[in-house]
């Protein structure tokens, strides 16, 4: 199906839609099922793997097994990313930060599992819907996450350092305020926009590339079966290589999103009252 259009493999396929206030509202789709699956996996796997088997004395402080890997990632985020930026507020936000990373990472990685390709082999009479897909290749999903970051910035800025936060909407002299305040507000929007598009585009692009590569085989096979097989060899090799790259991208993009979220939150709540630092922060 849809051999002609590689995009059909990467975009959302609605399973059930309805209307809400005149607007279309997707109740269930292949990508939403992946978000659900990711949520289940996270809640099932992480607490179990982080539990200490023999929690007595010093033994309770020593990580082991799969949880060791999770803990290494968490420790890295806490010590290397959060603490240098958030300082004393680290442990207040670290749970949110860890969740952002593992949520996006799980969605990215689940997107690499070719569930839709497997289910499409099943007989049509089973009427299996288009399942699988990359939830983070949906701008609505990434934008939701980015808006959450924006919310964290503004809410915590107003909660933890209200005076500084509002004062920094006009970082220059007061007479420049009519120019600077709208600029700062546009800055918030730009950060959010960039955050959502970066993740969305990165996850989408790799999958489109893979779909295009595999599409070569099908279009060549449409002419002659032999040509199709001949094309398949380099294409599959290339697709494997791209998939490894995608694996890397899945981690890197989850990391970047989390890293920038930390940065943005830190910029909203930590204000250095030294002129140099002030200049640097807004350079």
């Amino acid at each position: 199906m849809a051999t002609s259009n590689p995009l059909s493999h990467v975009v959302q396929h609605a399973i059930k839609t309805t209307e809400l206030g005149g607007q279309p509202f997707t109740v269930m789709s292949d990508q939403i099922s992946m978000i659900l699956l990711a949520g289940f996996l996270l809640v099932l796997v992480l607490p179990r793997s982080l539990k200490r088997k023999q929690a007595e004395g010093l033994e309770a402080l020593v990580p082991s097994g799969f949880g060791n890997g999770i803990e290494a990632i968490c420790t890295y985020f806490r010590d290397e990313i959060a603490k240098p930026n958030l300082g004393e507020y680290t442990d207040r936000f670290i749970k949110y930060i860890w969740t952002v990373f593992f949520f996006i990472l799980t969605l990215n990685l689940l997107g690499l599992v070719p569930i839709s390709a497997i289910t499409s082999i099943l007989p049509h009479s089973w009427n299996v819907p288009h399942l699988g897909g990359t939830a983070t290749a949906n701008i609505w999903t990434t934008a939701t996450m980015a808006v959450l970051t924006l919310f964290m910035m503004i809410f915590n800025g107003l909660r933890l350092a209200p005076r500084d936060f509002i004062a920094h909407l006009c970082p220059g002299p007061l007479w420049l305020a009519p120019l600077l305040v709208p600029l700062e507000i546009v800055g918030f929007a730009a950060k959010t926009f960039a955050l959502s598009v970066r993740l969305f585009a990165n996850m989408l692009a790799g999958h489109i590339l893979l779909a295009v590569l595999v599409g070569f085989v099908l279009s060549a096979g449409a002419g002659s079966t032999g040509l199709g097989f001949a094309i398949a060899v380099p294409v599959v090799a290339g697709a494997v290589a791209i998939t490894f790259l995608e694996l890397l991208v899945a981690f890197v993009q989850a990391f970047i999103f989390t890293f920038l979220t930390v940065m943005f939150i830190a910029q909203s709540i930590i204000f250095h009252h030294v002129d140099d630092a002030h200049g640097e922060a807004h350079a």
Binding site: M28, L36, R52, T75, K95, P129, L131, N138
Partner: protein, 210 residues
């Protein structure tokens, strides 16, 4: 195991859920089917396919994940990390204190050792001085003793010499008297005899004194 059972149950639920999903479009009315086809057709080339439904699902599931993971995964992890941090900090502080104590003790022992060495040197020095004093005293005494002995010996020799000379004079005087008496053929009286000897000794003494 409870965990394994829960895992199995949840996986079963997921599978059942996925199996139930196809039933929805299959059982759907023709209008929904049309809608679906339309939606699929519409999204075929639309990279930005999606609507508020995606946002709501994302928000709900993510926030649930934040709450559940925060309670069951991150909470214990964070407390473990904090415990470990405080443990390391305490251990380091303990180690620093121990090292400082050890250094203080080392300094104390070093100074004590120095004191002891100085004391030992002083004792040896004193001993040597005492020994030298004793040595000098003994030598001095021995020398004085020797001199005294020599002095006494000289005096004794002097006395013995005088005695011997007197005896010799007495004997010579006796002999001379006897010889003179024999020459004079007469007996010198005992009183004369003694007077002559006394005179002779007196002369001798005078000679000696001169």
């Amino acid at each position: 195991m409870v965990g394994k059972t829960a895992l199995k149950a949840l996986l079963t639920l997921v599978v059942i859920g996925l199996l139930c999903v196809p039933a929805t479009p299959a059982a759907a009315t023709s209008s929904t089917q049309e809608q679906l086809v339309e939606a699929e057709g519409g999204s075929e080339s639309n990279l930005f396919a999606g609507d508020l439904g995606n946002a709501v699902w994302t928000l709900v599931i993510f926030l649930l994940a934040v709450v559940l993971l925060g309670k069951f995964a991150w909470g214990p992890l964070l407390s473990t990390l904090q415990e470990r941090e405080s443990f390391i900090r305490d251990s380091l502080a303990q180690a620093r204190d121990d090292r400082e104590a050890a250094q203080a003790r080392l300094a104390e022992y070093t100074s004590k050792l120095d004191e002891a060495r100085a004391e030992a040197t002083a004792i040896v020095e004193e001993g040597r001085r005492d020994a030298e004093a004793v040595h000098g005293k003994i030598e001095q005494e021995a020398r004085e003793e020797g001199e005294r002995m020599i002095e006494r010996a000289k005096r004794e020799i002097e006395v013995a010499k005088k005695t011997a000379i007197r005896e010799l004079y007495e004997h010579s005087a006796t002999l001379a008297t006897e010889v003179a008496a024999r020459l004079l053929k007469r007996e010198v009286s005992a009183a004369d005899h003694e007077r002559l000897i006394a005179e002779a000794i007196e002369q001798l003494d005078q000679q000696d004194l001169n």
